[in-house]
């Protein structure tokens, strides 16, 4: 049973079967990453464009490796934010790229809804690598894969996402995906960073980080975007680190073997201390490795659809 859509735009409304298929398929590719020759010929002849309107080295590299390890041809477009006033319109850029006969587009863009728009103006498979503060489905999928690897299952797992929830596409995709897979999801952060009506999605809101640690099996710690401080959502990094930062002392206080995830890049000393970032509770580097496998799985499942 293949995936129900020929695109991956987000995890909202993606059926459980699809998520399961992606996670299962990622196992195959995780094994490929252990071989001496980390390459399979499966997507040979496919042309994949990485269209990154927003700066991102790690996600782009992860996708690029996934694409190359499937033997596809990859092209990278890095552009500054497009606007009719500044240059070529998005529609023209896409049409031009499509005219070069490409098969798939991996798009990262600052404006939410752009991947959906792409599905309307071109025929390639579209994968959302992050659209504004909307969704980042492959990140959530690799987070779920890593948790499944650690815990064996997602159903009933208590996961709390910590940080600037209102500006996080990682948070929203994780919320959608984890809820679909039966996990119990909560969010924690300063109230200025929690979007109104988020409880309507069926999750709990916690303002006390100690309570979050006590009540959950997993913390997914989001990067505090340093640029956002200028927006005045919290008084200072010092305050954030003090009241929401994950430190060794804080974890030890609860004497709990809690698992820590982080999408990266880490701000050491802000949302997570160096000790925790390098310590035994975190599976951050596993996330990175799994990220390539999960992306290979998504590319495989979409790229071999007839």
């Amino acid at each position: 049973m293949p995936l129900s859509s020929r695109h991956l735009l987000g995890l909202q409304n993606v059926p459980k079967e699809d998520i399961q298929l992606i996670l299962e398929t990622a196992n195959t590719f995780r094994e490929v990453l252990e071989r001496p020759i980390k390459k399979v010929p499966t997507l040979q002849g496919k042309t994949i464009v990485n269209l990154f309107y927003e700066n991102s080295t790690r996600t782009r590299i992860s996708f690029e490796l996934a694409e190359k390890r499937l033997s596809s041809d990859t092209i990278n477009f890095s552009l500054s934010t497009s606007s009719v006033k500044k240059g070529e319109s998005l529609k023209d850029t896409i049409k031009n790229i499509e005219a070069m006969k490409i098969d798939m587009i991996i798009i990262r863009h600052a404006a939410a809804g752009t991947p959906l728009y792409l599905t309307k103006i071109c025929n390639a498979n579209i994968i959302n690598a992050g659209d504004g503060i909307h969704e980042h489905p492959t990140q959530a999928l690799l987070d779920m894969y890593s948790l499944r690897e650690r815990f064996g299952k997602l159903d009933g797992l208590k996961v709390c996402i910590v940080g600037d929830i209102s500006h996080s596409r990682v948070a929203l995709s994780n919320i959608f995906g984890l809820k679909t897979m039966g996990a119990k999801v909560s969010v924690c952060g300063p109230s200025t960073m929690i979007p109104r009506f988020i409880e309507k999605l069926g999750i709990d809101v916690i303002y006390d980080i100690d309570k979050a640690i006590k009540e959950n099996d997993v913390l997914n710690v989001l990067r505090i975007q340093l640029e956002r401080n200028a927006g005045g959502l919290f008084p200072s990094l010092r305050e954030y680190a003090k009241y929401f930062g994950i430190t060794r002392e804080r974890l030890d206080k609860h004497n709990k073997d809690i698992t820590i995830l982080h999408p990266g890049p880490i701000n050491r000393g802000v949302e997570i201390s160096s000790e925790v970032a390098d310590g035994g509770n975190q599976i951050i580097l596993h996330q990175v490795t799994n990220g390539v496998a999960v992306r290979m799985a998504v590319l495989y499942l979409l790229g071999t659809l007839n």
């Binding site: 293949p2 398929t25 196992n27 195959t28 094994e31 490929v32 071989r35 001496p36 020759i37 390459k39 399979v40 010929p41 499966t42 495989y300 499942l301 071999t304 659809l305 007839n306």
Partner: protein, 181 residues
């Protein structure tokens, strides 16, 4: 309901595997440099059985790997269905080894071709030898088996099905006529 005839029974299957195991040891003058590689799905169980028999004969515990060749297939663009992938499991080094590739039925030879490509990505074996339970003819590629359990000539509207206790609940080789109602 297609018409099926049992051409080999449980005892017959056991004798075939015993013979093949002896042939492998004979041709390779012992088991020293051998590794066994079973191709998913039934090739895996055949490999396990052969490994047990070789252990009995030669007292040798051969390295056993499982190979999933889905990612190397040549029919992604033409097949209507998207194939389900599974996981390979090869935990040892195959460089310089004599790999005995084991599968149940040899037909067009395309699956074996995929397996050869897959194996090459794991290293450079000294040789790859193909051990097959049934050769049903109709090769489309220049592939041949080194060890054959049984030759069963077939027509294209027939199928050869190998059943194994481990997953089918019984042992046997069946010849099936597809068109009969």
């Amino acid at each position: 309901m297609p018409d099926q005839t049992k051409v080999v029974d449980k005892q017959g299957l056991e004798r075939i595997l015993t013979r093949i195991s002896h042939e492998i040891l004979e041709k390779n003058k012992g088991s020293e440099n051998l590794v066994l590689m079973g191709m998913r799905t039934r090739g895996e169980f055949l490999a396990v059985r052969i490994s047990k028999i070789i252990k009995q004969i030669d007292k040798a515990e051969l390295p056993l790997g499982i190979l999933d060749v889905t990612l190397y297939r040549d029919d992604f663009r033409t097949s209507l269905k998207q194939p389900m992938v599974s996981v390979s499991n090869i935990t040892f080094d195959i460089n310089g080894k004599d790999v005995i590739l084991i599968d149940d039925v040899l037909y067009t030879g395309r699956t074996v071709r995929s397996a050869l490509n897959a194996l090459m990505d794991f290293g450079r074996p000294s040789s790859i030898q193909l051990s097959i339970l049934v050769d049903r003819g109709h090769r489309e590629l220049p592939i041949r088996a080194d060890y054959v359990g049984k030759n069963i000539p077939t027509s294209t509207n027939q199928e050869v099905k190998v059943k194994m206790e481990e997953i089918d609940g019984e042992d046997g080789i069946y010849l099936i006529d597809l068109n009969k109602k």
